[in-house]
């Protein structure tokens, strides 16, 4: 039983040109494409929706009032799954994963299980004065830090992430640099992720990386390894903002009209499996946000023998247009 979510929005405003958002699965079939799994090599662990920030672009509605947090029992199940599956990469995300009380235990136990372990950080949770031990743990285990950093402009960054966050993040990046992160040859990888601070698509990734590298070094002496651009996914708090600000239709139109069939081949959902704070499996974090289970089936991590199989069906919805817009997001 495949629970495929079909969404279709038809604009009713007679003064504007109608643009119908066809179901993503139909867009695929019109191009003669299927979205099925390749070999799954990445396990993404979402440890919960608790976060110290309430970013306006958040697809999860994460925040300080969210109580969903991965407990130790589920963590043990996830570790057991990782042991029997032999992933190449383990990617820890949230919310703010730093705020999970079991985060250090999780890191210590997954590091031996995959060549690459990543921690996604909003930087302010890492720099709240209580995480020095965690930062040392990240360093000693060579965990890749993937940090949110949307803009070089303080006002623009704070408008998305909260007042004062920009300065806290610069401070956090400096601390990570002192530990060795971001320096060539240190073996401590620090990557930045930039999301647009509004209802528009991101610029060229290579141009953004070049500019961020130059300005961060010149202005603040901050270095990093790589930068990745991601478009904002029209879910959660971001979707609500799009709706109340009158940007939803235009944004969906942009995503739909930017559909690039060539981006489908390298979509991250083809090689990634996501596990939620309560242990259920999803094709990606965005599907997790709307409770769209992996392949449309509700499966707990304790029931999975190994990675999802090659060629398995991937559940889709209209938010999938985000990852196939322009050059795509992998």
């Amino acid at each position: 039983m495949i629970a495929e979510q079909l969404t279709e929005e038809i604009v009713e405003d007679p003064l504007e040109e109608r643009v119908a958002i066809v179901p993503f699965s139909l867009a695929l079939s019109r191009h003669g494409l299927n979205l099925n799994r390749n070999k799954t090599h990445t396990l993404q662990i979402n440890v919960g929706f608790l976060c110290n920030q309430t970013c306006r672009h958040c697809h999860l509605n994460a925040g300080p009032n969210r109580m969903e947090n991965m407990e130790s029992g589920i963590i043990e199940e996830v570790i057991s799954y990782a042991k029997r599956s032999r992933f190449e990469t383990i990617d820890i995300t949230g919310g703010a994963p730093e705020l999970n009380p079991n985060i250090e235990m999780l890191i210590e136990k997954v590091v031996p299980l995959a060549p690459k372990v990543m921690l996604r950080s909003n930087l302010s949770a890492l720099n709240d004065g209580k995480r020095d031990h965690l930062m040392e743990l990240l360093k000693s285990n060579r965990v890749v830090v993937v940090a949110s950093f949307p803009s070089l402009n303080e006002l623009q960054a704070d408008s998305q992430r909260g007042d004062g966050i920009f300065k806290v993040c610069i401070d956090a990046l400096k601390k990570l640099n002192v530990l060795g992160y971001g320096h060539e040859g240190s073996g401590l990888e620090l990557n930045l992720v930039s999301n647009p601070t509004g209802a528009f698509l991101p610029p060229s990734q290579s141009e953004t990386e070049k500019r961020f590298r130059q300005v961060l070094d010149n202005k603040w002496g901050v270095v990093f390894n790589n930068l990745f651009n991601f478009a904002n996914v029209p879910l959660g708090r971001f979707r609500r903002w799009l709706d109340t600000s009158g940007n939803l239709k235009n944004y969906m139109d942009k995503l739909y009209s930017s559909f690039n069939p060539c981006a489908v081949e390298d979509l991250m959902c083809r090689t990634l499996v996501s596990v939620s704070w309560d242990g259920y499996l999803y094709d990606c974090d965005f599907n997790l946000a709307i409770g769209l289970f992996m392949g449309g089936l509700k499966i707990h991590v304790s029931e999975m023998e190994g990675p999802p199989e090659y060629d398995n069906y991937i559940a889709t919805s209209d938010h999938c247009y985000t990852c196939t817009a322009g050059v795509g997001f992998t």
Binding site: N153, T197, F200, P203, E207
Partner: protein
């Protein structure tokens, strides 16, 4: 009262090529080449275009290049400075002609 400018007309720009199609093609090919990455980045060109859009006060261009600047990684701070550049040049162009005014006035005056 119906507005003189309609936002949706911006999307119909290419319809200008329904007559004199060869000229339109030359224009749009040139337009695309102008805004492609060169010695100036796409972001820098979008900021210049935004400034010029305000100089000529074209609402279509202001709409298009506000979007383009944001999509090329610019921000309100940069974009506002760009408009001040517009203003400085437009104002300065008027003011510098005042030297001609002064020359004439001084010639005529005792």
């Amino acid at each position: 009262m119906e507005a003189y400018y309609k936002r949706k007309d911006l999307l119909k720009f290419e319809e200008i090529g329904k007559d004199a199609p060869e000229l339109a093609k030359k224009f749009f090919d040139y337009y695309g080449a102008v805004f492609a990455e060169g010695d100036l980045t796409e972001r820098e060109k979008a900021l210049i275009a935004l400034a010029v859009a305000h100089a000529v006060q074209c609402p279509y261009c202001i709409d298009a290049y506000t979007n383009a600047c944001l999509e090329k990684g610019s921000n309100l701070g940069e974009m506002t400075e760009a408009i001040h550049v517009t203003n400085a040049i437009r104002g300065g162009a008027s003011l510098v002609h005042g030297i001609q005014m002064r020359n004439i006035a001084e010639k005529l005056s005792m």
